[in-house]
């Protein structure tokens, strides 16, 4: 992708975000009491100011894109490898499953699985080391955080650690 295209997309995106905030986000998700004495003290004043600034920066980016180079940027990461997209999707799924598993399996067992799965997702050349580390690192961290730092690490519903 060329710097011109990146700048243009960013500008367009910023303008859309500004409009969405001003028309949907702030009216819908920012509560303001009806008896606010002055507009500058309203809880909506700061978000509206920021939405306006986002719009201005978006317009600035659109205008600046005209002066950017249309030649592709050699340092930019191109999305041509379908396996790369699959790995990204897999990592997103791992993260979502982590959130689901943390309160159920407990942090230690979840962390062990996350370690092993991500190491294999990254195509590690040291699978045995990865598996050993996947067991030892979460256990060592558990020992430190639970027994030294006194943090209540989630234990889950199945196997509980001392």
């Amino acid at each position: 992708m060329s710097p011109k295209a990146i700048q243009f997309r960013l500008g367009l995106g910023a303008c859309c975000v500004a409009l969405l905030l001003a028309l949907v986000g702030i009216p819908g998700w920012v509560s303001s009491p009806s008896n606010v004495s002055n507009i500058v003290l309203s809880p909506t004043f700061w978000p509206y100011t920021l939405a306006l600034m986002t719009g201005f920066v978006g317009i600035g980016l659109l205008l600046a894109s005209r002066h950017e180079s249309p030649d592709p940027d050699p340092t930019h990461i191109e999305g041509t490898d379908p396996k790369a997209w699959l790995r990204l999707a897999a990592l997103a799924v791992i993260m979502m499953l982590t959130m689901f598993a943390l309160p159920r399996l407990g942090m230690v067992w979840t962390a062990m699985i996350v370690f092993a799965v991500t190491a294999f997702l990254f195509r590690t050349r040291h699978p045995i080391t990865a598996l050993v580390c996947a067991v030892l690192v979460p256990l060592a961290l558990y020992a430190f955080f639970a027994h030294v730092a006194g943090v209540a690490i989630p234990q889950g519903n199945f196997v509980r650690l001392p």
């Binding site: 960013l10 920012v30 986002t54 978006g58 930019h76 959130m99 997702l121 590690t124 690490i153």
Partner: protein
């Protein structure tokens, strides 16, 4: 009591094996605690606090001060080696420290971080001893309008860390400011972007956002291309920091130390903004400004000097006025109280031996920090030698534990993951992450002080220009903006 008498009184309480051992142990604990991402110097100090209950007051307080100072330096180790700041104060160190590590100069970057930290530590301690009363009384005259003007000036730092495009830096900063609006409104207590979730009412956890923005995108990038790092030098390298490096960066170190001293003496600012301001000033003044962000050793020196300059100075309002300068000194004030000591002006009269004992201990702490830091750099060498495809899953697991441990809240882990994807998207679109983080830190302070000023004045904006302090900060803000505008106009012509 003369200065000599006070010093002798201080020496009488501090000149014991226990006191110096506690200081040394504190620095060791702090360096290790700071070097573990998510644990942070704050948490290390908080965890050490219960161990001081049974110690002598001076021994216990020196232990905590050692943890504090060690923690601030320790944070730079993972920031340089694995692009994950161990403490928020080390965020600016990433900007040049990690690129140096990528070039195989991690040892040189860590060495400079240590030298700059120790120098700034000495400057900060001397400032504490010489200017405690004067600087504290100056800081006491800051009200919301003065803070607003100061923070507005601090936001001009963004220009210095925006990289190739100021507009993208500005976009990043506005997104950070927007994210900082999440939570309950300070004045009316109404919901802002909380979506009815009680976890969002206190705002997003800073550590979760910080780690999400800086550490997780590296892990996602590894999923995108697991072999991208092959062939790149990532080891500690054989290069060490030289005296020539130190001499070349000396001005930036002293400037950063003084920035740290000044900002540290003002309660509530903290080490992270100081590090970024120091970095920005170094970049602005350096003849090598083009190399900043690409692995410039002066950038590492400036960042570390900025955050370590704060360490001694935050004790100025603590000792002279009993006002904690940041979260860590708020924990340390608890240690004073547990031992029946009340920091403030009266302590300089009633407990002068403790005050001067602390001063002596702090001076010695800079030497201890140098020794412990030198060993720690060698000890953490193995982190560079770990295969990256084993290291990254370990970092992911460490981030999960670390972020959870801050508030014992799984929701924060989700925030970290979400911010990780935001950070990755920003990385791919060439949007710098540093302005986002600075704005996220300063945003709530800016808004709160603005609204407090308006409440004080009945919405009269002239309060924002009410005295010499505000005039000074408005003037330097305008000068900085004019300088930035002139630079932008010069670039297209060049």
């Amino acid at each position: 009591m003369s200065l000599a008498d006070s010093l002798m009184a201080g020496l009488s309480v501090v000149a014991s094996f226990e006191a110096f051992f506690a200081l040394f142990a504190g620095i060791c604990i702090g360096v290790v605690g700071g070097a573990i991402p998510g644990l942070s110097a704050t948490m290390a100090v908080a965890l050490t606090l219960p161990f001081t209950f049974t110690l002598q007051p001076i021994t216990g307080i020196l232990l905590l001060l050692g943890v504090y100072k060690g923690g601030i330096f320790g944070g730079s180790i993972p920031a340089i080696l694995i692009k994950t700041p161990g403490t928020p104060a080390s965020s600016a160190t990433i900007l040049d420290g990690h690129p140096m590590a990528e070039k195989g100069e991690a040892g040189r970057a860590l060495g400079m971080a240590l030298w700059a930290s120790c120098t700034a530590d000495v400057v900060s301690n001397l400032a504490l001893i010489l200017f405690a009363g004067w600087l504290a009384s100056f800081a006491l005259s800051f009200g919301p309008p003065e803070f607003f003007a100061l923070i507005l000036f601090s936001l001009t730092i963004i220009a210095g860390v925006s990289g190739e495009s100021l507009l993208r830096g500005a976009l990043s900063a506005i997104l950070g400011l927007l994210l900082a609006t999440i939570g309950l409104d300070l004045v009316y207590g109404t919901n802002r972007f909380t979506f009815g979730d009680p976890n969002m009412m206190g705002g997003l956890n800073f550590i979760a956002v910080l780690i999400g923005l800086f550490a997780i995108p590296e892990i996602i990038a590894m999923a995108w291309n697991p072999t991208a790092h092959l062939g790149k030098a990532r080891s500690l390298g054989h290069t060490k920091v030289s005296f020539a490096d130190y001499r070349r960066s000396f001005r930036s170190i002293i400037r950063g130390s003084l920035i740290g001293v000044f900002l540290g003496s003002i309660p509530g600012i903290g080490a992270a903004p100081s590090a970024f301001l120091s970095y920005s000033e170094a970049r602005r003044k350096s003849p090598n400004r083009e190399n900043f962000g690409k692995g410039e050793i002066e950038g590492v020196a400036a960042s570390e000097a900025g955050n370590n300059g704060v360490a001694g100075a935050t004790l100025i309002p603590l000792l002279a006025l009993g006002v904690p300068g940041d979260v860590i000194t708020a924990i340390i004030i608890g240690a004073f109280m547990i031992h029946g000591l009340q920091p403030g002006p009266m302590m300089f009269i009633l407990n002068v031996d403790i005050i001067y004992g602390l001063f002596i201990g702090l001076i010695v702490s800079s030497v201890f920090l140098f020794i412990v830091g030198s060993v720690a750099i060698k000890g953490f060498r193995f982190v560079s030698d770990v295969p990256k495809r084993i290291l990254m899953p370990a970092v992911l697991v460490l981030c999960i534990y670390g972020v959870f441990a801050v508030n014992n809240n799984i929701f924060d882990v989700g925030v970290m993951f979400a911010m990780g994807w935001v950070g990755y998207l920003m990385m791919r679109m060439h949007i710098p992450a540093a302005p986002f983080l600075i704005a996220f830190i300063l945003g709530p302070l800016l808004e709160d002080n603005f609204r407090q000023s308006m409440l004080m004045s009945g919405s009269d904006p002239s309060i924002l220009l009410r005295g010499p302090i505000t005039w000074f900060f408005w003037a330097v803000t305008i000068i900085t903006i004019v300088a930035i505008a002139r630079n932008i106009r010069k670039i297209p012509r060049a």
